[in-house]
């Protein structure tokens, strides 16, 4: 009995020793244990989502400490400028946020990112993400990021009562119907479609292209044998011009443009589904409007059945100071638990197909349903289908078109942009 007790005590002290030495190790490598997560999620909703994911990370991986290296600024303009200088100096954060898809190409070509195929295999991610999503974010068979959320770009927001006054019974299904409706609204004396600053026009362009060309032709525009000079593209761009001719005065950004719809000044607005939070959230961050009565939505004209997606994702930079910590973070970001914690707060849906449906209500429930059944097409403005150089060139072309309204010149500029993109 006594011997047992002694040996038990010995064992205990041994294990205590082990624990102790572990602790000193962790103390010695305190700097290495920090996981620097670089993102641009600082706004309301998104920062809360990040916090929720951080809490799960802290619970699952107590050996690592989360370091929030977020840089403020919508859509990550400032953050990306800082990030690109950090990567060039070979001082990467442990993991950084980027739009999934072509936006990461510059980093991939520059050899700044590690392929994540090993992680996809280990976690069997290829079976939980939609196959088309994996296809659209793969570069030569390699996946370089873990999508955390999905946003939808092709949403037509509208004000039901303005539509009623204009004599429109339901949201337009095709681009032609849409143009006819815009005309009815104009005759009723309201702004047919509200627009914001230049990038919101690129956003409108991607929905118009998709709605006019159809999903397959749209997706083909981003492949090697794309034909930007075709008559179909001319037709789509002419539609774009017609739609723009019904636009109100450009607003400062997307929020004031969306607000015109909520306030009943304008009938339609095409904007991503982040507008839902703006419409619906209580004042102080949102407009506090009731969904389906004060505002309503439909897939943008001609795009029903197709999900024009964009996604925030996390990466693994080569030479990450704490590679294990970064991989741990990616595992949380890829997990059902992590995505279900993040997305309801951020107002987006998980990229995974097996999300807990009860967490997503109202718009998000509809959205999640569409995500699981729709065909997929990638967004231009939000970094999925075109790399940075191409996207910037498209932005320039749209900015110039806004001034001169010359379709032929616009199409040439877009064709040149595709040719010179180096993608």
């Amino acid at each position: 009995m006594a011997t047992v007790a002694v040996s038990m005590a010995g064992l205990l002290s041994l294990s205590a020793c082990g624990g102790g030495s572990d602790k000193t190790e962790s103390g010695g490598q305190a700097a290495a244990k920090k996981v620097e997560v670089f993102s641009w999620w600082t706004g309301p909703g998104e920062a809360d989502g990040l916090k929720a994911m951080e809490a799960i990370f802290a619970k699952q991986y107590p050996q690592f400490s989360f370091f929030d290296a977020a840089v403020a600024g919508g859509s990550g303009d400032q953050a990306r400028a800082l990030l690109s200088s950090k990567l060039q100096a070979n001082q990467p954060p442990d993991t950084f946020q980027g739009h999934a898809g072509a936006e990461l190409q510059g980093y991939i070509k520059g050899g700044k990112l590690e392929s994540l195929n090993f992680l996809y295999d280990e976690l069997k991610l290829k079976s939980v993400f939609p196959q088309q999503l994996i296809d659209q974010i793969s570069v030569q068979g390699q996946v370089y990021s873990v999508p955390v959320n999905i946003h939808r770009s092709n949403i037509l927001w509208f004000n039901p009562s303005v539509l009623k006054t204009a004599g429109i019974s339901a949201a337009p299904k095709t681009v032609d119907e849409f143009i006819a409706d815009l005309d009815k609204v104009k005759k009723a004396g309201k702004i047919p479609i509200s627009i914001g600053s230049q990038w919101t026009l690129v956003h409108l362009l991607e929905s118009t292209l998709l709605g006019s060309l159809g999903t397959d032709a749209y997706n083909a525009l981003w492949t090697a044998n794309a034909d930007w000079s075709s008559a179909d593209v001319t037709k789509a761009l002419t539609n774009f011009k017609t739609i723009l001719s019904y636009a109100g005065t450009p607003q400062e950004d997307w929020q004031p443009a969306a607000k015109q719809v909520a306030d009943g000044e304008a009938a339609f607005n095409i904007m991503g589904d982040w507008a839902y939070g703006y419409f619906h959230n209580p004042p102080d961050g949102g407009l506090g409007k009731a969904s389906k009565t004060d505002f309503d939505w439909a897939p943008s004209p001609g795009t029903d059945g197709t999900y024009l997606w964009l996604s925030d994702s996390f990466t693994l930079p080569k030479g990450a100071p704490n590679r294990d910590g970064a991989i741990a973070w990616l595992k949380v970001a890829a997990s059902k638990e992590g995505q279900d914690a993040f997305n309801p707060k951020k107002g987006s849906i998980p990229a995974r197909k097996d999300a807990d449906k009860s967490l997503y209500t109202d718009y998000l429930a509809w959205d999640l349903d569409q995500w699981s059944t729709d065909k997929l097409a990638g967004s231009i403005q939000h970094g999925v289908v075109a790399n940075d150089a191409w996207r910037t060139a498209i932005n320039d072309a749209v900015g110039l078109f806004q001034q001169d309204q010359d379709v032929a010149k616009f199409q040439t500029a877009l064709a040149d942009a595709a040719k010179n993109s180096g993608q």
Partner: protein, 288 residues
């Protein structure tokens, strides 16, 4: 020998710093501008002045240069005239001059970003029933789209800059006015000059160096303008200027050579303002 070295020792840190961080980096910029490094990864090769000539074929560059010229002319002339006028009023010796001077100078203490955020709202493009900001104060026929006006939007963009800098110009001119010896004015008056002639022939010639200094200061601010425009309208073609285009080229389309070329043009355009002034200044000093 022994007399100059402590002085040299004292200034040498700043000489070294300026040599590296100003002229060294300027040189590096020109070097990148003369390569074909059109992405961040590849090694550029020397292509001479190809980028400098090629950029003129881009429509956007023409637009941004035109915008910069319109902005510069309206801003510099506007700030000079308004600043001169304010100084002229102050010089008359009004009561509470110190208070007014502080009020007019205050905008200088605000950053262009803060100015831009406020003026973005003031220059809201809504008209008629939807008017907010300044349009609300104006009668209908005077309301316009401000910086969103395709023709003269950049003139509107100069308004906040004039608001911000005219107080500073006023301070310069006020110092200039005060520098005119009272005896000169008096003797002119004794000789039968009207007050207008005193200004025309005595005071204004005295103000010439001040005017030139103000012109240089405003001119170089104007050609480099970036923060104000980003704060007011962001990066849009409708208010594009070379500095915005440069940011776009470097950080959005990841084209270092193009960005460096635009940066080089900005430096050159500022030099066009500054170098003649330096030469003129040096000559004047020699002349004395």
């Amino acid at each position: 020998m022994r007399r100059w070295w402590p002085g040299l020792l004292l200034v040498s840190p700043s000489i070294v710093a300026i040599a590296v961080f100003v002229y060294g980096l300027l040189g590096w910029n020109f070097k990148v501008a003369m390569t074909d490094q059109h992405d961040e990864i590849s090694q550029g090769h020397f292509v001479g002045l190809e980028n400098f000539t090629g950029i003129w074929d881009q429509e956007r560059w023409g637009i941004s240069v035109r915008h910069a010229v319109v902005f510069t002319v309206v801003f510099v002339v506007g700030a000079l005239v308004l600043g001169w006028f304010l100084a002229f009023l102050m010089e008359k010796g009004i009561r509470g001059e110190g208070g007014f001077r502080a009020i007019y100078l205050f905008p200088m203490a605000v950053s262009f970003i803060a100015t831009g955020v406020v003026w973005r709202w003031l220059m809201n493009s809504g008209t008629g029933e939807r008017a907010v900001g300044l349009n609300r104060l104006l009668p209908d026929f005077l309301q316009w789209h401000w910086f969103r006006d395709p023709g003269w939007g950049m003139a509107a963009m100069a308004v906040p800059a004039i608001w911000q800098m005219s107080g500073y110009v006023m301070a310069l001119f006020l110092a200039g006015f005060r520098g005119v010896p009272e005896e000169l004015r008096e003797s002119a008056r004794v000789d039968g000059c009207t007050e207008w002639q005193v200004y025309r022939h005595i005071v204004l010639p005295y103000l010439r160096p001040v005017t030139l200094a103000a012109l240089i200061i405003l001119g170089h601010i104007s050609l480099k303008v970036f923060d104000l425009i980003v704060a007011v309208s962001g990066k849009q073609i409708i208010t594009d200027v070379p500095a915005i285009f440069m940011w776009n080229a470097v950080f959005d389309s990841h084209d270092p050579a193009k960005g460096a070329t635009i940066a080089a043009y900005i430096v050159i355009s500022v030099c066009v303002f500054v170098v003649p002034y330096l030469i003129w200044n040096a000559r004047r000093r020699d002349g004395r």
